[in-house]
Symmetry: C2
């Protein structure tokens, strides 16, 4: 695995630290930086624990120590990005923070370096316009935690070099992620738009008293979510009518058009949120949230191992 280009991680909270594992386990040397000394001190202990968990889940092809040895933490941005070919930036998600770090990076990197931002909602055009090498910046949006959920959305600004998108797409595939390429910026990108419409409808059904939170959750966790964990919504409908997707559309588009809400859903109402919070806290008290998150991540690790074995050609 020697010889793989160095990667810099800039902003090393949960998202950035997950990215460090993604690159290191694929054989890259990873140089991490965070402006907070407290955050910097957490990176290596967290990585050591997480690598042990990945090993236990059967998700590592090397010994954890070999991967861990490729990680280093640096006290300055300049030191972290020295000599790297790619920077994954995951600083706090405000336009101010993203703009500031982008300008700093712009001054430090050579023209061969590409910078991907983990931004989940702010498009790159809002914080890279003033960069001299703005063609080298784009959104590279993961799902948290990136070392357990492989999809990554690549979203170019109007001025991003197409070549930079292609290079990041190839890099993501090479490190085992699944890149999705958007042709242009759109609010929420693809992933959160799909999540958003489903959440808006789920809140409206709950507001109308059609079913409990737990029952609405069950329709996904024990129903729709099963197929969706290994095929997307288009492939699902392609297989759900004898003649494929056009046949499905001919049979059912009228049904789905008839379900569109008029007027469109507004923001989730306060009173409904209060009711939902009470229902969730009855099922899971606030002091149990952290343990349930750990349960979720362990479940995602086991699911990742299962998918690798059950659906190897995907």
């Amino acid at each position: 695995m020697a010889g793989k280009a160095d990667i810099a991680i800039v902003g090393a909270g949960l998202v950035g630290s997950g990215w460090a594992l993604v690159f290191a386990r694929a054989g890259h040397t990873v140089r991490a930086y965070d402006p907070s000394a407290e955050v910097r001190d957490r990176i290596l202990p967290w990585a050591r624990d997480s690598l042990a968990e990945l090993k236990a889940a059967g998700l590592l092809e090397e010994e954890p120590e070999a991967i861990f040895a490729r990680l280093s933490v640096h006290d300055s941005l300049a030191e972290a990005v020295a000599g790297v070919s790619y920077v994954q930036e995951s600083v706090y998600e405000t336009v101010e923070a993203k703009s500031a770090v982008s300008l700093e990076l712009d001054a430090l990197i050579g023209p061969e370096v590409i910078v991907g931002s983990s931004s989940s909602g702010i498009p790159a055009s809002r914080f890279t316009e003033g960069c001299g090498q703005r063609g080298r910046f784009l959104i590279v949006h993961p799902v948290n935690p990136p070392h357990l959920v492989p999809v990554v959305e690549l979203v170019p600004a109007p001025w991003t070099d197409p070549e930079a998108v292609e290079m990041v797409s190839a890099l993501m595939t090479a490190v085992g992620q699944v890149p999705v390429c958007l042709t242009r910026e759109i609010d929420g990108f693809v992933l959160n738009r799909l999540q958003g419409v489903l959440l808006n409808e789920a809140w409206a059904l709950y507001e109308d008293g059609i079913a409990s939170l737990a029952d609405i959750d069950a329709t996904i966790a024990h129903g729709l979510g099963l197929r969706w964990s290994f095929m997307g919504p288009f492939e699902t409908i392609d297989l759900n009518a004898p003649g494929g997707i056009a046949d499905y559309a001919a049979r059912l588009r009228g049904l789905y058009a008839g379900m569109v809400r008029m007027p469109p859903p507004g923001p989730w109402p306060d009173a409904v949120i209060d009711r939902a919070e009470a229902e969730r806290r009855t099922r899971l008290p606030a002091e149990g949230l952290a343990a349930r998150r750990a349960w979720r991540d362990a479940g995602l690790a086991r699911l990742a191992a299962f998918k690798k074995e059950a659906f190897p050609t995907q």
Copy 2:
């Protein structure tokens, strides 16, 4: 397992046959009927093959032969429903077909029998109003195939006895399905409304040229669908903000409200469907659809076995 009440399957195509396996593997004696002799002749050979597949996937606690021995096929509706406590009706989904079979069943059953219809979209109020025992009829909507996807939507008509809903809910839990209880009828019920909004947005993104079908599919199959295969959308957001669901709503409802399409999406346009069909057929030629469906069902069986082992307390 002896002594479990007999169940009648009325309409034994793919959905009805799947239901037969659900009840038989849980220890019930199952009496199947279909008006078509050709369909009747397919039931037992299909059940034998499917039980072997379930056994291979680790999903049976008994030998397939013992389960198979509890299935019988009958030439008349009257014979099939004689002495049963529950009827799962899965005839062709038109108001005419559902009305006709409901009236026939109404004349044959005693007041202790409940009839659940597998209807995926037509509510029970549209085809049971004229039944003398209309309080015993409700929608019991599975996902196909019901022996591999456990969720079931229970949807009462305005005149359905609440006691009948409770009894079917208990029966479904007892046979290993996951019942979801709607308080009243609504177009598309919960499951297809959630699928519908996600499909409407996916088609609109594709129409706008934001991403390819395959890339939109990947955001679900390698992203959102992973968590959703073992927890629903509300539990997902409850764990995605430090303070739980109300904290998540406070942070992000504005973002999701900003993504609502104005005007709301109309029916999927013909030209976009043609483009999607061409893209899918490039990836999967029409002659490969049947094999890919078999791959999907084998995948669902393996996923069911994985979930049973990985998430036993759910």
